[in-house]
């Protein structure tokens, strides 16, 4: 199936050039930065042990997400990922909301990456004797450079991501080996772990930032129109991605909680780099500096890719102004969507504190995962197994959907503990946007064109 741009009707489509490795790099590339920064705020909310429990509980949440997503995406292989799924399974207003969830989860994550990169350059500049180094120019440069790279082409962008993601992952493996976790020469978990300072309520609260270990893995689906074999590459790339992240997350926790007091770890901006500093090894510090920079770049790069695809898809379907549905005639990228989202990322990266930017991203992700649980239940009911060709069928249905819903409910409560105002503010935003779509924007949407898959009529409709 070839999709065309909505603006002039010219036959310009996205290029099908990506393999499973690129899908893995897109998913892990976006998320691996979660090991380099942000996850440790879970330590601040509940202590180190609570963060480990949250790491595994969130791992279960994302395993459910990956299982569900692999089935639906390998069947609804269209740009926009979950947005395209909502269009075919639930309806236009839900699709519009899901599109917004995706855009804001990724754009805020991109802003968080730029903040971390700027902070790290400032810190290392100070350590190297450049006390006047300022983070803001690096924040702006990062966002502008990566937006330019995305503007120029998807293949070069994701190949770049594949290389730097692999380097960032290897850096964690090397640090893990270097601290000799099988001895207590470097790591001192027995002397640094202090139980649960907030009790079991802290464990619940830690789920909020526990999601940060994995947030964005579902972004693999955004490349659905640009992979050569969606039915094979999307499940393979997504499932290997979540396995990679589970391993990296557990190693990261073990290294950091064995090196830092929890009060410091819970507020650190660059915990893995700090872990390298505490080993006293200059090569490790350089390696983790490079790893942190690469992971933030890979993540921001993937976020721009995913957010712009979701925005582009909504423009192409006229859920948003049609101008955003254009593909660049030469570079074959959604260039207007890429450019439009740059100021949003810049404003947040420049002015907002890191934990709050991360919270905005997490909240959008959480709303998206809640949708995914309902979505897969409806999908199986409307097109039972055997009625349409699926690239992958996830096992134990409907258990993953119910586990996902239960974990999402827990995480809403975790966000409420400490960040309730932001939760309500986000809901107000989505309600206003929904009213705007239903009352104004929907009149520009071609009804029948929302369903493009060659499937039979859904059961019950």
């Amino acid at each position: 199936m070839t999709q065309y741009t909505a603006v002039h009707g010219e036959k310009v489509s996205l290029l099908r050039v990506l393999g499973p490795g690129h899908v893995w790099a897109l998913g892990v590339g976006i998320v691996l930065v979660g090991e380099y920064m942000g996850w440790n705020f879970a330590v601040g909310k509940g202590g180190a042990l609570a963060a480990l429990i949250a790491c595994w509980a969130a791992g279960m949440l994302y395993t459910c997400v990956a299982m569900i997503d692999s089935e639906v995406t390998s069947t609804v292989a269209a740009a926009g990922g979950q947005y395209a799924q909502a269009k075919h399974i639930v309806g236009p207003l839900m699709a519009f909301n899901v599109g917004l969830f995706l855009v804001f989860a990724y754009t805020m994550l991109e802003a968080a990456n730029a903040i971390t990169l700027g902070y790290l350059v400032q810190t290392v500049g100070g350590m190297a004797g450049f006390a006047d180094t300022h983070d803001k120019p690096f924040i702006v440069l990062t966002i502008m450079f990566l937006a330019f790279l995305n503007y120029r082409g998807v293949y070069a962008t994701l190949t770049f991501n594949l290389v730097i993601t692999a380097i960032a992952f290897v850096a964690i493996l090397i640090l893990f080996a270097a601290v000799s976790p099988w001895t207590d020469n470097v790591l001192k978990p027995h002397e640094l772990l202090n139980g649960l300072p907030y009790g079991w309520l802290g464990v619940l609260a830690a789920m909020h930032f526990g999601m940060w270990y994995y947030l964005g893995i579902e972004g693999t689906t955004q490349a659905a129109e640009e992979v050569r074999s969606p039915a094979r590459a999307l499940p393979l790339g997504t499932m290997t991605g979540i396995i990679t992240l589970l391993i990296a997350a557990t190693m990261t926790w073990y290294i950091c909680s064995g090196l830092m007091p929890w009060e410091y770890l819970g507020q650190a901006v660059t915990p893995l780099f700090d872990a390298a500093r505490l080993t006293g090894s200059t090569p490790l510090m350089v390696l983790l500096f490079v790893g942190t920079i690469f992971s933030t770049l890979a993540s921001a790069n993937g976020c721009i890719n995913d957010a712009s695809r979701a925005w582009f898809s909504m423009g192409r379907d006229r859920y948003l102004p049609q101008v955003f549905g254009a593909v660049h005639p030469k570079y074959r990228t959604p260039f207007r969507s890429i450019v439009f989202l740059v100021p949003v990322a810049l404003v947040f990266a420049y002015f907002a504190p890191l934990d709050q930017v991360i919270t905005f991203s997490i909240l959008s992700g959480l709303l998206e995962y809640t949708f995914m649980a309902f979505n897969v239940l409806m999908f199986r009911k409307m097109w039972p197994l055997g009625t349409i060709k699926r690239g992958y069928v996830h096992p134990f249905h409907p258990l993953p959907a119910f586990v996902l819903l239960a974990l999402c409910a827990t995480t809403y409560f975790a966000v409420f503990l400490g960040y309730g105002t932001q939760l309500v503010a986000m809901m107000v935003f989505y309600i206003i946007a929904s009213v705007w779509f239903a009352g104004h924007r929907y009149k520009f949407v071609k009804r029948g064109a929302q369903f493009t898959m060659p499937w039979p009529r859904p059961v019950g409709h």
Partner: protein, 126 residues
Amino acid sequence: MAKTPYQPPQQSKFGQFVDSLFLLVLVLAALFLPVYFGLAGGGKTTLNLPDASWADLGQNATMAQQWEKLGYTPQTAHELIATRFDYSFSLPALLITAFVVIAYFWLVFRWSAKEYKDVIAERFDR
């Protein structure tokens, strides 16, 4: 009976510009106003701890050693150690928040189902 496909109006360039601007303002306002007015962020409290020594701050010898490697003294680490989240909350606030989230999903699913009927009718009843 075949249903006549809905023909949406063509939106002018000015209309598209206004919609784009509205979205940009809505995004920035809704996401940034809580930060600007200081409503966002975790509810925090401060423990009453003296900062004369690491022991006063509840830090053992290993912890103290790591703090010092990171460039901290008991005085500079005091704020980091003494600041804690305040997890006290009111039940009505929790119930209202839960209601807002559930009502949002319920309304979006209901309204989407209504729109989806038109989509399916146009796609399959031709």
